[in-house]
């Protein structure tokens, strides 16, 4: 059956609108054919009734109804499947990533955080919190929940959030989430000769240091630098400009710490 050009266009437009929510090609093809067949049957029935071809086309299109409404119903029928497919893809991606972490490192902060032992305003802070490290081969995913705990909170202004049990305050809490590819690492210098010695000084945790690809140098991880910067710049109690500048420059602080560590080795 050959349709009039205008009718054909209108029918195609109707089908296109109705099938807009459907993404599955086979379903689209099936439905397109069904709608076309239905239109043809309707048109034949109208012609049998004695209508002219033009009138039959109009009437058949009219009887099909609203394409948008049909599209909404089709969306209800077929849309949930698409969500399932998306969920399956996400699950597969997670399954792909899961075997990759080489180490999961949970670290609890309990030590004095300030490196030179001179906390601002003569109040010592203890960094507390939880840290979760995922090492994906060379890249690292870091999630930390941290807070500062001043040992003499009454000296601070504004006063810290007080713990009624111990009458101690909490300051500068935050959630840190970083993803650190290898190329964000900052080159520092030669690799340290002994990891045990390095850890015993507790200048910088070992987990923040990474070997360069050739294995001869050491890199300060960028996430450590970021954490440092965040802590230094967000701490309202860091009123001393010199201290603020010092802590806001993580690389310089690291170099200072490294010198202190070398001096410590030389002294011993």
């Amino acid at each position: 059956m050959k349709l009039h050009y205008a009718t054909n266009l209108r029918l195609r437009a109707w089908i296109r609108v109705a099938l807009r929510p459907i993404r599955l090609p086979l379903t689209r093809m099936t439905l397109r054919r069904e709608f076309s067949d239905h239109f043809e049957d309707c048109r034949d029935a109208m012609l049998d009734k004695g209508l002219s071809e033009r009138e039959a086309d109009e009437e058949a299109l009219e009887l099909l109804g609203s394409a948008r409404e049909v599209g909404k119903l089709l969306k209800l029928v077929y849309r949930p499947k698409i969500y399932l497919i998306r969920a399956a893809i996400l699950l597969l991606a997670l399954l792909y990533l899961l075997p990759w972490p080489t180490r999961i490192n949970r670290q609890f902060y309990g030590q004095i955080y300030w490196m030179d032992g001179t906390p601002p305003e003569s109040v010592s802070f203890t960094l507390q919190g939880w840290k979760l490290d995922y090492l994906f081969k060379r890249d690292r995913l870091n999630l930390e929940l941290i807070w500062d705990r001043p040992e003499d909170g009454e000296k601070l202004f504004p006063p810290p959030l007080m713990d009624p049990q111990e009458m101690m305050g909490y300051e500068s809490s935050g959630l840190i989430f970083t993803y650190e590819p290898l190329f964000w690492g900052t080159y520092v210098g030669p690799a340290y000769p002994s990891e045990e010695l390095f850890e015993s000084t507790y200048m910088i945790p070992k987990s923040y240091l990474r070997l360069s690809p050739d294995g001869t140098s050491c890199m300060l991880s960028e996430s450590f630098a970021h954490n440092w910067y965040i802590l230094a710049s967000n701490n309202p109690n860091t009123k001393d400009d010199a201290l603020r500048t010092q802590y806001a420059d993580p690389l310089q602080s690291f170099i200072n710490a490294r010198e202190a560590w070398i001096n410590h080795l030389n002294d011993n």
Partner: protein, 118 residues
């Protein structure tokens, strides 16, 4: 807990209500199942049967029967197949499956006993 989430305790319980936004909600799907009980047919044939009985459920919205037929097909209540008509053109025809028959019987019993529309 929604009515839809309530687990069925036994087979004699009425079928669960479909989801609120489901096209199966309401009488149209059951109407289509009833029409198919009279024999297999294409969407157009089903609507013609309906009009012969004097029911204008899909009047001026005839294409709305296809989403419902596809929904029932996905639920396994009807099955589609290609059939060649008297005029030589093939049409996609639907027929009731055993599961569809059971579903129709259950819903009829439930409605007859004064239950809620399924």
């Amino acid at each position: 807990m929604k009515a839809n989430d309530t687990p069925r305790k036994s087979r004699n319980d009425p079928p669960r209500l479909p989801r609120r936004n489901s096209p199966l909600r309401g009488g149209a799907p059951r109407l289509v199942l009833k029409l198919l009980r009279g024999g297999e047919g294409s969407g157009f044939a089903l609507i013609s049967r309906l009009e012969q009985r004097g029911c204008g459920f899909f009047r001026r919205q005839e294409a709305a029967i296809y989403p419902i037929l596809h929904y029932l097909e996905r639920k396994g209540l009807v099955r589609a197949c290609r059939r060649e008509g008297e005029d030589g053109r093939s049409r996609r025809c639907y027929r009731l499956t055993a599961k569809g028959k059971v579903r129709l019987e259950k819903s009829r019993d439930f409605t007859a006993s004064g239950g809620i529309e399924t």
